[in-house]
Amino acid sequence: MSFQFTEENEKKFADILSRYPNKRAAMLPTLHLAQEQNGFISEEIEAFVAQRLEVPIVDVREVLSFYTLYFRKPMGRHHIRLCMSIACWIRNCDEIKAYLEQKLGVPSGSVTEDGNYSWEAVPDCLGACELAPMLQFDKYFEGNLTREKIDELLDGIQNGHKS
């Protein structure tokens, strides 16, 4: 079955298009929308976006390979991005990284076997250095990380405390 926007997302897509003088400029928001719906950008979605924005597929692919927030393969149910940049490094993010790796059992950049989590340690500052060391859990930031806090975060999820 080929990829289509849901009815609601089709409306959002029309709204996105109305904001720019040309279709190409809707590239990033359209990819965000598609990823929200599908979880990642498959080759099929690449073609879909190219067709809807009336650009060659290579243009979509070039954008996908340039930006880091688009996933090109399925990710875990929850995605964790651990900040490794300077302010977090000063506050010992290396230790948090080692603990996360031990706890999740897979190296940065991969998905856990049960498919619950994917995680990556990123060299970019996530813009919340006052919370260092910090991470992004799905959409939101969690800071002042300790081993206990990581336990709470991950075990809480497993026990269904968090959606």
Binding site: R19, L28, A87, R91, Q136, Y140
Partner: protein
């Protein structure tokens, strides 16, 4: 004297992002004043008088930047608000977006009125989900209340404002990388000239301003440019937000007049150094700025003083490091970031940031050679002023300064294949 809070007035107040609450406290009065009682030229004049300078990093005088936009053009003009905030150590714009988005929207209205702009985009980094949600909600509210749209605040002036999410690339904070990205392409910075003021977004005249820069406008219009100028120091108007992080007791965002001593920020507002250890080094304006030693802590926090000291005030991101931090590893961390974020367009940047990172990785792994230090110094020179955008210079600034100011730590690491700091702490604890 109590410290004047301008843009941080409502930080931490859950009500402040609600339009009705904000309107009760003077929200949008300055925009109304500008639209009703001032000509666009008068607005630009107040902003020029205020000595407001760009708070995104470059410190360019805002009034002057606006005056470069051609007056008689058939093309539409655009404002793009830079909310990409990705310079390591910087997190101040996030506070405005999360706590007081209406202040930014009001600033956008004032800027657009002054320059004759009817369409504005906020380019917000993709990782900022909560700030995005809060800003979008405020924009929706402003449209519903007739503050944005065909008749701004009921006046004969139309303005559309759209929030556009980025997708994870530091280089899109560079103004022309941002424009490319907003046009739906990879964020490769453009060769200048032409400058965005003439050929910007979609080939049209474009103003690019930082979130905080624009958020200062309402108070400048309310109280006058001179009032703002008097708050700061010579040629550096007003206050700005400092994002303080690293080894301080109270990291956070502090709004202080330009010209405040760095010492005051760290020891009074930041509560001093963690565990009362000795301060060793300070990055004063984001990872792209040259590092300062503890001896330089009395410097005045303004654009000109920092430039004179060979560094920069940049994005206002101050990162403190105490005696327990290894300068070799700190630089290694910073250069990893730049090597990762170089867009790859220019040879000195693409190759330079890669070599530097590899060389530092080798030193940190204990395989460094004394010649490496010389090579690092040469790289820092060759990476300055040789590329399309300032990312490369931003990588060279910490490189040159860390190696020069902490040369002994680099030499020690190469000679003994271990960190000077770690070696010393072991000796002390024996």
């Amino acid at each position: 004297m109590p410290i004047k809070k301008i843009v941080s007035e409502f930080f931490g107040n859950e009500d402040a992002r609600r339009l009705d609450w904000r309107i009760q406290r003077g929200g949008y009065e300055a925009a109304r004043k500008a639209l009703r009682t001032m000509s666009p030229e008068q607005v630009i004049e107040e902003v020029t008088t205020s000595n407001l300078r760009g708070l995104g990093g470059a410190g360019f005088p805002t009034g002057r930047k606006w005056s470069f936009i051609p007056k008689d053009t058939d093309k539409p003009k655009y404002l793009t608000v830079n909310a990409d905030e990705a310079e390591p150590g910087t997190f101040k714009d996030r506070y405005i977006l999360e706590w007081d988005p209406h202040r930014l929207i009001e600033g956008v209205i004032i800027c657009c009125y002054a320059v004759g702009i009817h369409k504005a985009y906020v380019y917000i980094r993709g990782e900022y989900v909560r700030p995005y949600e809060r800003l979008q909600q405020a924009v929706d509210e402003a449209y519903e209340a007739g503050i944005l749209g065909p008749k701004v605040l009921g006046e004969d002036f139309s303005l559309d404002l759209y929030v556009h999410r980025g997708a994870g690339a530091y280089i899109c904070g560079e103004e022309t990388g941002l424009l490319e990205s907003l046009e739906g392409k990879k964020g490769w910075p453009r060769l200048k000239p032409p400058f965005p003021a003439v050929v910007g977004l979609f080939g049209c005249p474009t103003v690019i301003n930082n979130v905080e820069t624009l958020s200062h406008l309402p108070k400048i219009i309310e109280n006058g440019g001179q009032w703002f100028a008097d708050l700061g120091c010579e040629r550096n108007g007003g206050t700005r937000l400092f994002a303080l992080s690293g080894n301080v007791k109270k990291p956070g965002v502090y709004e202080l007049p330009l010209g405040t001593p760095l010492r005051e920020l760290i020891y009074e507002h930041g509560g001093g150094i963690q565990d009362d250890r000795a301060l060793k080094a300070i990055i004063p304006g984001g990872a792209s700025s040259a590092v300062l030693t503890a001896d330089e802590v009395d410097i005045s926090l303004d654009f000109d003083s920092l430039a004179k000291a060979g560094s920069m005030l940049g994005s206002g991101a101050v990162i403190a490091m105490h005696e327990g931090i290894c300068m070799v590893k700190a630089l290694h961390n910073i250069e990893h970031f730049f090597a990762h974020e170089s867009c790859g367009q220019c040879t000195p940047c693409r190759e330079g940031t890669g070599w530097v990172y590899k060389t530092l990785s080798r030193i940190v792994a204990g395989h460094g050679r004394m010649e490496d230090l010389h090579a690092l110094r040469i790289h820092s020179r060759n990476m300055t002023g040789t590329s399309i955008c300032a990312l490369c210079d931003g990588a060279a600034m910490p490189l040159g300064s860390f190696v020069r100011k902490f040369e002994h730590e680099f030499e020690y690491y190469i000679k003994y294949k271990r960190s000077y700091v770690e070696a010393r702490s072991e000796t002390v604890s024996i």
